[in-house]
Symmetry: C2
Subunit: 476 residues, 2 copies
């Protein structure tokens, strides 16, 4: 049975940007606040965030990480200690200059990221190699004074987690950098049902102050890429200016090796843009605030009794559940829960109840089945797994279809003007050639994959000897 088009949402094939804005508004995900560029994250989106947090936090703790909380302010002198870092962030921080009526002696920025604070802290608590590693993480909000903003994708304040670890050796720190990238990859693929590219950022695109940056790149429905999580290796680039030293096994002073890694509420934007359709959100069961909605069609005694019974069974099975026995029309209810992306809808009407059965609809494909009472639990549990798998497969198929191998700029241009996606192309390593690529709809290098294919001998831009195969794409 086909899904009927929701009139409140622009078609995603007609105007993707408007479609996105419509969903954010109609599914009550975010609301513009009185503070320009800052959002109210509404309860439904926040519930998605809480589920994301619960899973990721569990993964971090399983791998030995502990949470703590750092101040939200960074004194200007502290931000300035690492020169590349301050250059990267100073242009986009919010500055506090007054406490009450008193001007501050030194202005404070609201943290855009907390490397400097962690280094400052580590420098006072580390003495010996016995104190290492420290594997810390914090969940907090950060501020970056962006000029143009978009809900979840780019806003002046956003929620995220930032892990910051220090280690005795470069090897350990590099292993941590990769370990956390792989945790993000697992989370994106298994929970968010979003396939990702992983690899190393080019020098130009790495984090301000890092030795190198690893990243997760996902492709949205419209073929635009989204940098979805990053993991940075700092070596001793921060530990030297911040004097984070320890006495090593040979009784010699050494600087620690450091990493940081983070992901944010931007993931909610990715969920919308990878899975959503013209009827609203489509949420993967593992992350959906409600996995099943039981909606009554007319509320007679038998229907209400059946709803209660089914709810009890499914609650016992551990599912996140909502019952809607309001007197709204069936059509209204269906549209509402489709908008909210609830993976499974159980429709309970008088005629079905008389036959000891219900109708079960899946959100990802819109198909419906009639299921006998005694089969509901088994059917729903299997269906949730199937939906989770199908959503991943569908997104993977789309990403594969939109991943192109190119050897000339003309090919790239043509693709980017019609059906954009990831471009695989060779690169000589020169920043000038990256700059040249940017002329095509603002394209940037996404990452250099860990296993590079050999597409050609020469750089797609300048024709000189190629150094790397790079994934390119336009970006949010």
């Amino acid at each position: 049975m086909a899904i009927i088009k929701n009139e409140k949402i622009t078609s995603r094939d007609n105007d993707f940007a408007q479609w996105y804005t419509d969903i954010v508004k109609q599914a009550h995900l975010a609301h513009y606040s009185s503070v320009k560029g800052c959002l109210v994250i509404e309860p439904y989106a926040y519930a998605i965030w809480e589920n994301i947090q619960a899973v990721l936090d569990g993964m971090f703790k399983e791998t030995g990480h502990e949470n703590l909380y750092m101040p939200m302010f960074i004194p200007e002198s502290l931000l300035k200690k690492e020169s590349e870092h301050v250059e990267g962030f100073a242009p986009e921080v919010a500055w506090v200059t007054y406490g009450g009526k008193t001007p501050l002696e030194e202005r404070l920025c609201v943290r855009p990221t907390s490397e400097t604070l962690f280094c400052d802290y580590y420098s006072t608590i580390i003495n010996s190699y016995r104190d290492l590693p420290k594997l810390y993480n914090q969940w907090c909000s950060v501020v970056r004074w962006e000029k143009s903003t978009r809900p979840f994708l780019r806003s002046r304040e956003f929620l995220w987690q930032e892990g910051h670890t220090i280690h005795e050796t470069a090897k350990e720190a590099e292993e941590e950098t990769l370990r956390m990238l792989n945790i993000y990859k697992k989370f994106f693929e298994e929970y968010l049902a979003i396939p990702v590219l992983v690899g190393k950022k080019t020098e130009k695109e790495k984090f301000a102050g890092a030795e190198y940056t690893l990243s997760l790149e996902a492709l949205m429905y419209d073929g635009v890429s989204l940098q979805s999580a990053t993991s940075h290796y700092f070596g001793q680039k921060f530990s030297k200016p911040f004097d984070v030293k320890f006495v090593d096994r040979n009784n010699q002073p050494q600087y620690v090796y450091q990493t940081s890694w983070g992901c944010s509420t931007r993931m909610i934007g990715a969920l919308i843009m990878v899975h959503g359709d013209d009827n609203g959100l489509v949420l993967p069961p593992k992350i959906a605030p409600k996995q099943v909605v039981i909606a009554s069609i007319r509320n007679d005694e038998n229907v209400l009794g059946a709803v209660d019974k089914i709810a009890e069974t499914l609650k016992k099975a551990g599912l996140r559940l909502q019952c809607d026995v309001s007197d709204k029309s069936a059509g209204f209810k269906f549209a509402e829960y489709e908008m909210k992306g609830v993976p499974v809808r159980i429709e309970v009407g008088p005629r079905d109840v008389a036959n000891n059965q219900v109708v079960i609809a899946r959100r990802d494909t819109g198909t419906k089945e009639i299921v006998k009472f005694e089969d509901i639990e088994r059917h729903v549990l299997a269906l949730l797994d199937e939906i989770q798998a199908n959503m991943y497969e569908r997104a993977l198929k789309h990403t594969k279809e939109r991943t192109y191998t190119c050897t000339t700029l003309d090919e790239v241009k043509k693709i980017m003007e019609t059906k954009p996606g990831f471009i695989k192309a060779m690169w000589c390593g020169a920043p000038e050639c990256e700059a040249k690529m940017k002329e095509i709809r603002g394209m940037k290098s996404r990452c250099i994959p860990f296993e590079e294919e050999h597409i050609a001998d020469t750089c797609i831009v300048c024709g000189k000897k190629a150094k790397h195969m790079v994934y390119w794409g336009i970006q949010y």
Copy 2:
């Protein structure tokens, strides 16, 4: 068996303030940061906070509340809309005046509390009585530019939750105000093992902008009171200036009735000051990050085998557990876990293992018992309940011993100079008499209890006719 005095901690009877500072430092709860008046909340304290959050958040959700997230900035014009509110908070807010290099058109304060933001949001999403109530809460950090600070008790930034609800009628909103106070009371008594007074704040002590404020007051070991949570009834005091209106059941426009309620990381300070002793923290089992530590005494094969076996059993029983089989001395290990306030310690040594037994020590009383292997699980589960109950009873006894009924200022003075605590005394209702009480070591009214006793006919200060029985105390 008596606990041996920990040398790193000042005795709490000699110098309570230094004792507090020593515990915060030695138990690795908080660390002063480079930002004056702001703290690093270290992993052990943050783990306590996570347990507090998990329980309270569950209680909020059970009573129908949803979480969301508001921006951390408030435009000055928004803060100014309710006149009492801005008077109360403007002197102690941090002001953001620059975004990058650009001066802001309107300065923004970092939220000291979010009534104004919630009102602004509510004014745009409420239309009809059908949209009510809204029962929202957020977990976040807030900033108040305090002059003198103290870890967890008063700092420029702290973590808290703030609930903000709007209702169709005054009655419903007042019920909510009381409901949330009672939830806090239950949480303090049943989880933190801290007895509390509840009642209404005087006009002078209420929240800036509230119709009235209800509060939870707890007595610390040194007899000083701590305002531990508050629940405010706003009536329509915010909804009018913020124009939060709805169409009621008679099709008439009405302003909503509003509440807010909050508690903070100050609770960690209360845990330290109510339960701690000269050997460090003493944590109630329901909130302790680790409920049991299994510490080996010498690490031979039999000991390690026994530790593993016991750990497996207790993990299966659902306990939060730590094993320490490091080669540190037994004395060092015991002192460390006493410092951290772990409720139960299981000591596993070679001689005991040979006899199929262990020594089990409880943190609250320091007593030890020999327990046979097969009885460990049963014994530990019962012991944790007993410790939780005993800690509450002990704190209640202390509070009762330090609660005095007074009819003259001389009595009050004498008590406050020797063994301070809560003072029950009559009051005429005049702010001048409250001011007079303040001359005694800065005493303030704590609250007017819901059930007032009749102690005397006249005000303890001025001798005029008494209106209320008030609890008074000096405060953190």
